[in-house]
Subunit: 196 residues, 4 copies
DNA sequence: TATGAATGAGATTTCATTCAT
DNA sequence: CATGAATGAAATCTCATTCAT
C-alpha cells in the first residue's frame, strides 16, 4: 500500500503500473492479488477510508444544522449562517484533510480512471442537499426563490476551495486561516447570489 | 479530427484509442501519422487553436486594462472594478467558449495525460498576473498588502467558474447571465478578500 | 491460421497458447490482433466456414425431404425412409466432412471453452427438427405417438456416428461405406424405437 | 471435496479454480495441499472411486458372460444375446450411475484437461473386448468375420447412450426404461451389423 | 496520401503450487 | 491440520508507433 500510494501519487491511477508498485514493494505482481482484488481495490484500500470518514463527518454535521434551522423561529434573529458554527466545523474538516493528506490528494486529483473519479461531484451533491434545504428555508422566509444553478456553483466552489487548499498549501494551520477567509467571502455574498 | 474529437470527448486523452479513431474515420492507423506526429499532436490540432485564441483574447484585454489602471489618477474615482468593462469582456469570452465548445471541454476536462493537462493552471497563472498588477495598484493606493494565496484562489475560482459553466450549461445565453451573476458575486468581495 | 490450426488441434481451444501460435507463425502476438479480434475469432476464422456450409447443406436437404413427406399420399407406399435419398446425401456430407477434416475435428472435439463448444448439440437440434416432422407424419399415419427422448437419442446417435467416423477413420471412401452400414442399422429400427 | 465437486461441475476441470474451491470451502489454498497432491488428485478423489467401481462391475459381469458363451453348445439355442441377462445388468449399471450422479457427470463430460479426459474411450475399450470375444464366438459359429469398425462403433454407441442418459434424464426409473428400449434397439441389429 | 502489416513493450490478471510457521 | 504469504510463469490483450510499398 505504501508503494501503491507513492506510484499513484506520482503517476495518477491510470498510468500507475502494478508491476512497478510490486517491484518497489519487493514482491511479485502475483502477490498483490493475495491482498487486493484488482488495481481499483488497491487504490480503494488506500484512499477510501478517509473518504468514508469525510462523508460521515459531513452527514453528522449537516444533520445537526438541519435540525437547527428547522426550529420555528430559527431565522428570526437575522442571518442564516450565524446559526451554524462553521469555525469549528471547518477546523475539523481541515484537520481530517491534512491528517489524510495523501489519500485526499489521490481522491481529488489522481483518481481519473478509477471508480472514484467522480467523488468530487458526489461530495458536491451531498453538500448541496444541505445548502438547498437551508436556502429553501431562507427563501420561504424572505419570499424568494432558490436559483439552483447558483446554488450548485457555490457549493462546487466551496468544495473546490478545499481542493485548492490541499493542492497548494501543505501547512495545516495556515490552511485553516485561509479557509476561514474564504468562507467569510463566500457566506457574505451567499444570500444575494442564491436567492432571487 | 472529427473522429478524434468524438473519441477524446468520450474516453479522455489517455483512454482514447488511435485505432478506434482511425477505424471510425475509415482510415488505417498509418494514415494518421501522415498528418500528425503522434497522439498528442492530434489532440493539439483539435484543441490548441481555440486555446491560443483564448490566450490572445485574454492578453489583449488585460493589456488594455493594465493601461487603464496605470493612469495617474485611475483609482481616484472609487471602486477598481468599475474601471474595466467586464460585461462585454465576459460576453466575448463566453462566446469564444461556446463557439469552441468541444475543444474547451477537451482542454479543461479531458486532457489528463497530454501536455495540456495543466492548461487550467496556466490560464490561472496568466490571469493572475493581471489581477496581481491590479491588486498591487490598489494595495499601494490603500496602503494594504496583497494576500497572494487569496489572490490565487480567487483567480482560480473565476477560471473554475467558466469550467463549471461549460460543463453544466450548454445554452450560451443563459451562461452569460449566470456568469454575470457570478462575477458580481466575486468582484463585490474582491477587495476585502485580497487586500489585508 | 495454419499455425493456429496446428496448435488448436494439438492442445484444444483452451490450452492452446496464442504466444505459441504466433511464435510458430513467426510473428509477435500483437500481429495476431491485426487480423483477429481475439482468440475465439481466430478459432472461428479457421473452423466456422465449414460449419456454416454444413448447416446450409443440412437445411437444403431437409427442406426437400420435408416437402416430399408432406405430399398427400407420401406414406402410402410403405417405409418412410425410402422417401429420402440417403445415399447421395450421406456421400455429400462425408465429402464435406473429409474435405474440411481439420475444421471438423476442431469443432467437434477441440472446441471446449469456445463459443463452439455446444455446436454438436446445436447440430443435433437442427437435425432433430426434421426427424421430428418426419416422425410425427409417420405417427399420424399409424396412430402412434412420438417418443421424444428416443427421437433425441437417435438423432444424437446419428451425429455421434459422424463424429466417430472422422475421429477414427481418415479414409473418406471407407468412411462412406461404414456410414451406409450405420444408417442401415439405424433406419431399420427407427420406427419401432421412436413410435409407441 | 464438496466445494470441488461444485466448481468442477460448474466450470469443468480446466476452468475450475482451486482458489475458488478453497474459498468456498472456507479454507486457504495451502490447506488443500495437505490432503491432495495437486488439482488432478482432488478431481480424482471426487470422481475416481465410482469409476473404479464401475470397471469392477463391468469386469465381473463380463467374466460371467464370457464363461457362459464359452460353453460348448452355448450358441445352439439361437440368439446370442439371450445368453446374457441384460436387464438386471442394465439396472445395476444405471443404479450405479445415478447413485454417483455427480461423479459420472464429472468424469464423462467435465474431465477435459485431466488424466480422466479419455476415460470414455477406456471404458469403450474395456467393453469392446468382451463384445469382441462374443462376436468372434458368434462369427466362428456362423462362418462370418467380425467387422472391427462396426464393433467399435456399436460399443461406443452403447457407452454414449449411457452418457446421453445421465446428461438428459435425471430420473433413475425413467432412465432404466429408456435404456431397455435402447438396448433392444441395439441388440436387434447387432448381429447383422457386426458380422459380415 | 494511404495501406497493410508488424513491432515490441507493456498492461492487468490468473493460476497452480510451495513453504515456513 | 491449516494459515498466510508469496512465487513465477503464463495468459490474453492493447497500445502507440513504424515503415516498406
Amino acid at each position: 500500500m505504501e508503494s501503491g500510494k507513492k506510484e499513484f501519487l506520482e503517476k495518477g491511477y491510470m498510468k500507475a503500473s502494478l508491476r512497478k508498485i510490486c517491484a518497489d514493494a519487493g514482491v511479485t505482481t502475483g502477490a498483490l492479488y493475495f491482498f487486493f482484488k484488482d488495481k481499483e481495490d488497491l487504490f480503494g484500500a488506500i484512499a477510501e477510508p478517509p473518504l468514508k470518514k469525510l462523508v460521515e463527518i459531513l452527514n453528522n454535521h449537516f444533520a445537526v444544522d438541519v435540525e437547527a434551522i428547522s426550529q420555528p423561529h430559527a431565522l428570526d434573529g437575522g442571518n442564516a449562517h450565524e446559526l451554524v458554527d462553521h469555525d469549528e466545523f471547518i477546523d475539523r474538516l481541515i484537520h481530517h484533510f491534512y491528517g489524510n493528506y495523501d489519500a485526499f490528494i489521490l481522491l481529488l486529483t489522481k483518481s481519473q480512471g478509477s471508480k472514484y473519479e467522480n467523488c468530487v461531484d458526489e461530495l458536491v451533491d451531498t453538500i448541496e442537499q444541505f445548502y438547498l434545504a437551508l436556502s429553501e428555508k431562507l427563501g420561504a422566509h424572505y419570499g424568494a426563490k432558490v436559483n439552483r444553478y447558483m446554488l450548485h456553483w457555490l457549493t462546487h466552489m466551496i468544495v473546490d476551495s478545499f481542493i485548492h487548499l490541499i493542492t497548494h498549501e501543505i501547512n495545516e494551520e495556515k490552511a485553516a486561516q485561509y479557509m476561514t477567509k474564504i468562507m467569510t467571502f463566500i457566506l457574505e455574498g451567499w444570500q444575494k447570489a442564491v436567492l432571487e
